[in-house]
C-alpha cells in the first residue's frame, strides 16, 4: 500500500509546484480542487486496513467541500470580478518554483529532525505536509491578488490536514469537521470580500489597498 500512498503524496507535491509556477487563475483553482481530491484518496488509502464509516464520511465530506464547493465559489468570484490574467506577483513565477524547491529540502530536513512517532501513512507524509504549509505561506505572502491569497490559505490548510491524517488519526473526525466548517465559512466570506473589493476599486490587488487611506483624504 505504501507505493500508492507515496504516489499520491508525490502528486500533491507536484500540484504545489504547479500552483507556485502557474499564472492563470482558472488553472490554479482547478489545481486546488485536484489537491482536495488527492487528499480524499489519501484519507482512504491510509486507513485502508479497516475502513470505518467515519473515515469514509470524512473523506467524502472533505472531497466534496474542497473539490466541489470551494472551486465553485472561487470560480464564481473570478467570473464576477473578471480577473482573467494574474497580476505580476512580488516574487516571480520561476523564482517561486525555485524557492519551493528549497522549501521542500527544508521540510525533508526538518521532518528528519523531529522526534515524531512513526506514522502508518509512510515516512513521506510528514515532509509533504510541511511542504504544503510552506508553499501555502509562500503563496500568501508573495502574491498580490486576493484570490491567490485565498488559494494559498487553502494549500496551507491542506498541509495541516495531511499532517492530521499522518499522526492524529484517532481524534480526527471532530477536529477535521470543525476545520472544514471554518474553512467553508472562511472561503465563503473571502469570496464575498473579493467581490466587494473589486466592485469598489476595479481590482483585487492587495498591495494597492494599503494606499486606501490616502485616496480618500
Amino acid at each position: 500500500m505504501n507505493a500508492w500512498n507515496d504516489s499520491v503524496l508525490v502528486f500533491l507535491v507536484l500540484t504545489n509546484f504547479i500552483l507556485l509556477g502557474s499564472r492563470r487563475p482558472a488553472a490554479r483553482i482547478r489545481l486546488t480542487a485536484i489537491q482536495g481530491l488527492l487528499l480524499g484518496i489519501l484519507t482512504i488509502l491510509v486507513h485502508a486496513d479497516d475502513v470505518r464509516l467515519r473515515t469514509l464520511l470524512l473523506a467524502l465530506g472533505s472531497t466534496f467541500v474542497k473539490a466541489g464547493v470551494f472551486p465553485w465559489l472561487l470560480r464564481r468570484a473570478v467570473r464576477e470580478t473578471d480577473v482573467r490574467r494574474g497580476v505580476e506577483p512580488f516574487v516571480g513565477y520561476t523564482l517561486s518554483v525555485l524557492m519551493g524547491m528549497a522549501l521542500l529540502g527544508l521540510s525533508i530536513w526538518m521532518s528528519s529532525r523531529l522526534p515524531l512517532p512513526p506514522s502508518q501513512a509512510g515516512s513521506l507524509v510528514v515532509p509533504v505536509s510541511f511542504f504544503s504549509v510552506f508553499a501555502g505561506l509562500l503563496l500568501v505572502v508573495s502574491r498580490k491578488t486576493a484570490l491567490s491569497q485565498v488559494l494559498g490559505y487553502l494549500v496551507l490548510e491542506n498541509g495541516v490536514y495531511t499532517f492530521g491524517i499522518a499522526l492524529a488519526y484517532e481524534q480526527q473526525l471532530m477536529v477535521e469537521l470543525g476545520i472544514l466548517l471554518d474553512l467553508l465559512v472562511g472561503v465563503f466570506v473571502m469570496g464575498i470580500i473579493i467581490f466587494h473589493i473589486s466592485r469598489e476599486f476595479d481590482h483585487i490587488e492587495v498591495h494597492r489597498l494599503a494606499t486606501l487611506k490616502d485616496d480618500h483624504s
Binding site: A3, D6, S7, L9, V10, V13, L14, F17, G21, Y93, T94, V97, L98, G100, M101, L104, G105, I108, S123, L124
Partner: protein
C-alpha cells in the same frame, strides 16, 4: 569484450536515422499526408555525402572541426550506453558524468562553429541553445544522479541493469519522475517540439536549425547523422528505464527495439498534438524539469 555489446553499436549506427523516419511518418499521418519515405533520411545522408562542402571565407578551422568533433562525441557517448542488460563496451564507475560531458562537448562545438561564421543569426541561435541547455543539463545530471541511490551504481550500465520490475514496485514515484525528466531532456536535446521545432525555417523561432545553416555537404550529413544518433542514445536510456525486462539476450534486444520504435511514435504524437512553447516560457518549462529531478533525487535519497 562481448560481441553483443558491439552488436548494439552497429545496430544503433545503422538504425538511428530510421527513428527520424518513423517520427516524420507519424507526423505525416497525423496531418493527413502520405509523408516522405521511411528511409528518406538515408537518402538525404547519401546525397549530402556525395556533394562538396562550401566554406565561407570568414570561417576558420573551428567551423570545419565542429561537425566532426560533434559526431565523434556522440559515437563515444553511444559506447557508454548499455542496450538491454548487457554492459556497455565502455563502462566504469562515474561514466554518467562523462556521458553528460560528451553532450556538452557536442554542444560547445556546435555553438562555436555557429559563432565562427560571424552571422548574427547563428549567434542568436547559439545564445538560445546555450541558455536552454544550461537549464536542461542540471536536470539530466540530477535525474541520472537520482538513479544512483536507487540502483547502487554510478555507471550507466549498472544503473540500467539495476532497474528491475521490483525496483519499479518499490520506488515507482521516483523512477516515474526520472522518466519524466529524461523525456523533457530528450525532447529538448533533440530540438523537438515543446522547445524547438526541427522543421521550422522561420528566422526568429529557430534554435538548433539556425546554428547549422552554413554547413553544407558532408558536414551537414555529419550533423544530420549526429542528431539521429543523439535521438538514439537518449532514447535507449529512456527505454532502458521503462522496460526493465531481463528475459534473455535476444528477446531483450527485440523488446527494446520495439520500445525505441514506440518512443519514436510517441515523439511524433507529441509533436503533432502539442504547440510549441513561447520562447520566454521555455526556461520555465526546463526549470520545471529541474524541479522534478530534484524531487526524484530527494525521494531516492530519503
Amino acid at each position: 569484450m562481448n560481441v553483443a555489446a558491439f552488436l548494439h553499436i552497429a545496430v544503433a549506427m545503422i538504425l538511428a536515422p530510421f527513428l527520424l523516419g518513423v517520427i516524420n511518418r507519424t507526423k505525416a499521418i497525423f496531418a493527413g499526408r502520405t509523408g516522405q519515405p521511411l528511409l528518406q533520411v538515408y537518402y538525404d545522408l547519401l546525397k549530402l555525402l556525395r556533394k562538396g562542402a562550401v566554406y565561407s571565407r570568414t570561417t576558420t578551422w573551428v567551423f570545419r572541426a565542429g561537425p566532426i568533433v560533434g559526431l565523434a562525441a556522440l559515437l563515444t557517448a553511444l559506447l557508454l550506453v548499455p542496450f538491454g542488460a548487457q554492459r556497455a563496451p565502455l563502462a566504469f564507475e562515474g561514466d554518467v558524468i562523462l556521458f553528460a560531458g560528451l553532450f556538452a562537448v557536442l554542444r560547445f562545438f556546435t555553438v562555436i562553429a555557429a559563432l565562427d561564421t560571424g552571422s548574427a543569426f547563428e549567434g542568436m541561435g547559439a545564445s538560445r541553445e546555450v541558455q536552454f541547455s544550461a537549464l536542461a543539463e542540471p536536470a539530466l545530471l540530477l535525474g541520472l544522479a537520482a538513479l544512483a541511490p536507487l540502483t547502487g551504481s554510478f555507471s550507466l550500465s549498472g544503473m540500467l541493469a539495476g532497474i528491475t520490475a521490483h525496483t519499479w514496485l518499490r520506488t515507482g514515484p521516483a523512477l516515474a519522475l526520472v522518466v519524466a525528466v529524461l523525456l523533457v531532456v530528450f525532447l529538448t536535446e533533440n530540438a523537438r517540439i515543446p522547445v524547438d521545432d526541427p522543421n521550422t525555417h522561420l528566422e526568429l523561432t529557430m534554435i538548433h536549425e539556425v546554428m547549422v545553416l552554413d554547413h553544407s555537404g558532408p558536414d551537414l550529413a555529419f550533423i544530420l547523422y549526429g542528431s539521429a544518433l543523439k535521438l538514439w542514445t537518449l532514447g535507449v536510456l529512456l527505454v532502458g528505464i521503462l522496460l526493465p525486462v531481463q528475459t534473455g539476450p535476444w528477446l531483450d534486444v527485440v523488446l527494446r527495439l520495439a520500445g525505441m520504435i514506440v518512443l519514436a511514435v510517441v515523439t511524433g504524437i507529441i509533436e503533432s498534438t502539442m504547440a510549441r512553447l513561447r520562447l520566454t516560457h521555455v526556461p520555465q518549462f526546463l526549470a520545471g524539469a529541474g524541479v522534478l529531478s530534484v524531487l526524484a533525487l530527494l525521494l531516492a535519497l530519503r
